[in-house]
Structure formats: C-alpha cells, structure tokens
C-alpha cells in the first residue's frame, strides 16, 4: 500500500507537468485545429533558457527570488518565441490545406531542436541540485519532497487560473467562440488574430513552466527531449479529449499516475510502450478521448 501511495505521489507530480505541457497542445488545437509539433521543442528550449538565467543570477539572489525571477523571465521569453512561431510558421498557412500546416509544424520543430543543439551543444546539461532545498516530508511512510510540493501547488494554481480565464473573462469567451467557429466569431466582432496570438502566449508560457519543472525535477536535459515529453503530453491531451481544457488536465494526471505505477510495479523499459497501448485502447473505445465530444463529420 505504501508503494502504491508513493507511486501515486510521484505520478501526480509527473502528471501535473504533463498537464501543463498538454494545455499548450490542446488550446492551439482547439482554436487552429492544428497539432503544434513544435510545442514540445519550445518546452525543451525553456529548460535551457531557465538554466542559463539561473546560472547567471545564482548567488546574487535568495533562492526564492531566484526561482520567481527565473520562472517569470523564462515564461516571457518562451511566450515571445511562441508568438514568433505562430507568425512565421503558422499564420501564412492559415488558408492552406491542413496537412501543409502539419509539415510546417514539423519543420519548426526541427529548427528549434537543432537551434538548441547549435547553441548549447549536443551533450546533456544538468540542473544544479541546490535550487530547491532537498527536504522530504514523511507522511506516515510516504515521502514527498519540497520540489514535488512546489510542482503540485504551482501547477494547480496555474490550471485553476487558466480555467477561470477561459470561462469567466471576455478574452476567454472569445477564445471559446473561435474554437467553435472562427468565421462566426469574426462576424461577431472578435479579433481572431488577437485570440490566436493570446492562445500561443498562454500555451507557450504554461509549457515554459512545464519545461522548467522537467529541468528541476529530473535535472538532466537534452536538446532532443522535446519530442518525447511533447508526445507524452500530446497523448495526455488526446486521452482527455483534445481541444478540451479540463480534459488535458485529467489526461495529464491519468498518464502520470499510469506511468508511475508501471515503473513501480512492472519494468520501466516497457513503460513507454504501455503508455501508447493505453492510448490505442482509449482511441478504440472512445475515439474522441474521455471528456471529448463527438464532432460531426463535415459533409
């Protein structure tokens, strides 16, 4: 039972990181109907930028201030990168066949991935251990570290914030309107371009938090990690029902717990394969994901 609870804690931590990254996929998919393959690479980029900022500022600031400044600066930089990505790779293809945009997204992914490799080299980089104090709290035999608490709390705050933004604000309503029908939204006086840019800003900034957590939690980062974390997060988005924000959160949590339980009880070398078996089974049983709605075929 204790092993199970311990894996549950670990799974929730990983799951909330997946959920943060998955939100970026699901929001872009909701508005543009496009799999943003470059999102995973933006996450990897954020881990590198965060490391640079931390190294520059280490020693000059207290740990808490260091973490806050790193997070804010990285989120801003990655949000700008997301907007540039939208401008250069996606906006010119808005009217093109859908598959062309997929290729453009794959091209953008190659550019970012290899850009990281050219700047920081092909070798893995290691995050310093001392950023978050290595403290473990004992909850009747189940250990939870300060880092895990930080991940869980920040992720939940961000996700609840996003939920209220999308459901309660004017811009969030515009975003939902664009997800349903862009032309109708435009006729209602919504500036669709502004909504899309906002989507990319929020999605990329959340991905940046995810990337920093990956760096601080796993500590080792590589230039090509974007594909693997990106795909896992994308699977999370699909499991929950893509285009659906609560779905991405649920999918991320489920995937994280599933991964941790497999790694705990079975072997970790099959973990990834079993993740995708889960995906395939869910796709066969419920083709639009757990919380997804049936989308009518266009005639």
């Amino acid at each position: 039972m204790e092993i199970f609870l311990q894996q549950l804690v670990n799974g929730l931590t990983i799951g909330s990181i997946y959920a943060l990254v998955a939100l970026g996929y699901t929001m872009v998919y909701g508005v543009l109907k496009l799999i943003n393959f470059a999102h995973g690479d933006l996450v990897a980029l954020s881990a590198y930028i965060g490391l640079v900022i931390m190294m520059q500022l280490a020693g000059a600031l207290s740990p808490a201030a260091l973490i806050i400044i790193t997070f804010l600066a990285t989120m801003v930089i990655i949000a700008i990168a997301g907007v540039i990505l939208e401008r250069t790779a996606y906006r010119p293809l808005r009217k093109a066949p859908r598959l062309s945009a997929v290729v453009s997204a794959l091209g953008a992914s190659l550019v970012i991935e290899n850009g990281i490799m050219l700047i920081w080299g092909p070798m893995p980089r290691i995050y310093p251990a001392s950023i978050v104090p290595n403290v473990n709290y004992d909850l009747h035999g189940v250990y939870i570290s300060l880092m895990q608490i930080l991940v869980l709390v920040i992720s939940f705050v961000l996700m609840i914030g996003l939920y209220f933004f999308v459901n309660k604000t004017k811009l969030g309503t515009a975003m939902r309107a664009c997800a349903i029908d862009q032309d109708a939204a435009r006729l209602m006086g919504i500036d669709v371009n502004r909504v899309i840019v906002t989507t990319f800003i929020i999605g990329s900034a959340l991905g940046a938090v995810g990337g920093l957590f990956i760096g601080m939690y796993y500590r080792g980062i590589t230039f090509n990690m974007g594909w693997i974390y990106g795909l896992n997060a994308f699977v999370a988005a699909i499991i929950g029902g893509i285009g659906n924000i609560p779905g991405a959160m649920l999918g991320g949590m489920l995937l994280g717990i599933f991964n941790a339980l497999i790694a705990g009880y079975l072997s970790s070398s099959w973990a990834m394969a079993l993740t995708y078996v889960l995906l395939i089974v869910i796709m066969i049983i419920r083709p639009t994901g757990i919380l997804g709605e049936r989308v009518a075929e266009k005639v």
């Binding site: 998919y29 293809l93 290729v103 550019v111 290899n114 050219l118 893509i242 083709p287 005639v299």
Partner: protein, 315 residues
Amino acid sequence: MDTKKTLSYGIFLLILAALPFGLNSNWVSVMTTFLIYSTVALSQDIVLGRAGMFDMGHAIFFGLGAYATAILNMQFGWPILATIPIAIILPTIASVLLAAPIIHLRGDYLLVTTIGFNIVFTQALKNNVFGVTGGPNGIFGVEPLKIFGFTFASQNSVYFLALFILILTLIIIHNLETSKPGRALHYLNLDSLASECIGINTKFYRLYSFALSAAIAGLAGVVFTLQFSAVSPDAFNFIQSVLFFTIVLVGGPSSIPGVLLGTFFMFVVPEIFRQFAEARYLVFGIAMILIMIFRPKGIWPVKFGRIPNFLTKEQ
C-alpha cells in the same frame, strides 16, 4: 500514359541505371538508400496521398519486412530468397490487423494512434521480444541474396536490386492509378461520405490501401537489410515514419515525380551538405516551412487529367 510521360520515365530510369558507373562507392550507397526510401515513400503515398489517411507509422511495415528477413536468415538459417515472401506477407497481415480497429478514426486521431503503434513496435524490438530481435543493437551479419548461383554481394548489385524493386513499385502504382481500386481510393480521399453513398465499400478500400502499401514497404525492407547486412531498431523508429510522412507532403501527395523529388530533397540533399553537418537540419526545417508557405500542395503537385479547374480548386 501518353508518350511524353513514358519518355520522361524512360530517361529518368536510364539515368538511374547509368549512375553506378559514374559515381564513387560512397555515392552509390547514398543512391541505393535513395532508391529504397523512394520505394517506401511511394508506398506511404498510397495510404497518405491516394487514400488520404494520416498514417504516421509506416516505418513499422518497412521494419517488419527488414526484421523478418534478418531473423529468418540469422536465427533459423533460411536462405534470403525464401524469406522474401514472408517479408511481404507478414507486414500485409500486420497492417490489416493494426488498421482494422482504428480505420474509422478521424485524421489527427489516426495520426497519433499510428505513432503509438510505431513506438510500441520499436520498444518491442529494443526489449528483444521473443528473444529473436537482438535487442537495442539489432542483428548483424545477414547473408547476401543468392539467385541461381549469382550472389548480390557487391554494392552495385544491391543498387540494381533496389532499382528493380523501385521499377516494380512504379508499375504497381501505375496499374493502381488506372484501375477500379485506384479510382475508389481517389473518391474516398475527396469525400468519404459521398463515396460511401455511391456504393464504395470505404472500409474495404481503406484496408486495401494499407495492405498494398505495407506489402511494398516490406519488400523495400528486404533490400534495406541486404544493403547494410544488418537491422537495428532505430532505423524504424517513429522519427523515420515522420520523415516518410513529410516526404510525401513536401513532394506532392499522389504525384510520383513529387514523391521522388521529396525523397531526393529529404535524403540526398542532406548528404550533399554533410560538411555543414551541424547546421544542416536547421536549414532543412526552414526549407520545409518555406516550401509549405510558397507551395502548400508540394513541390510537384499532381495534375488530374481532364477535370476542369474550377472543380479541383480549393474552396
């Protein structure tokens, strides 16, 4: 096929046949890879370009063919010639079994599910499933092909074998284009609901396109094994599938010259720029974005014979 088209294919194939006599061995091996990957890309095009299904797991069938030959030869001592039928039949059966439950999925969901299949496939190879796949390093030392006492051991002989398979594929695709299943796939791609209403069995033809493309990819896998006399899981991971997917779209879906150009662009051009090893994929990514911006239907888009322009134009 009109004379102009026949003539240009003739010249193209003659140039390919003459190439090994004018190139050094390094480039012959690059061109052999080009021929093999062209075959796989053309088979991918049957599913993606002609039937219009987003299959991003095509390396599975390529890999199944390659591994079938390598395993039967190395673990069970079969001669290569005897393994070829298995290397065609096994991917065909696998493609039908894998595709049948997911064939109804809408575009992007199918794409992700096929990536999933591909990842499960490479993980199974890496974990040495059934103890015959050789784990992460793969299988080394596969014998060359022997037919009637002739051994396909030299580089040039493998090149001509690959060229033979490519020509065979071109003939199959030409026949497909002019036959009933080919037309069915074309209608299915344009509008699956309407084609079902006029009596096309969409599920059958979707599986048909998967089976045909898997058979061709499996055969290409045999040549791949012969070229390197080895197989390894990384040659068939999902990144390779993404590459085949991209080739078809960059070149131009359901356009044979387009797919060949796409393969050239994605496999041979990076070889030419090998001295800029580090930056070449960066340039490559930029090129992919630019091509899609300026030619969203691919470098060499297909032209459909007598269909009036206003009917084919994107609405």
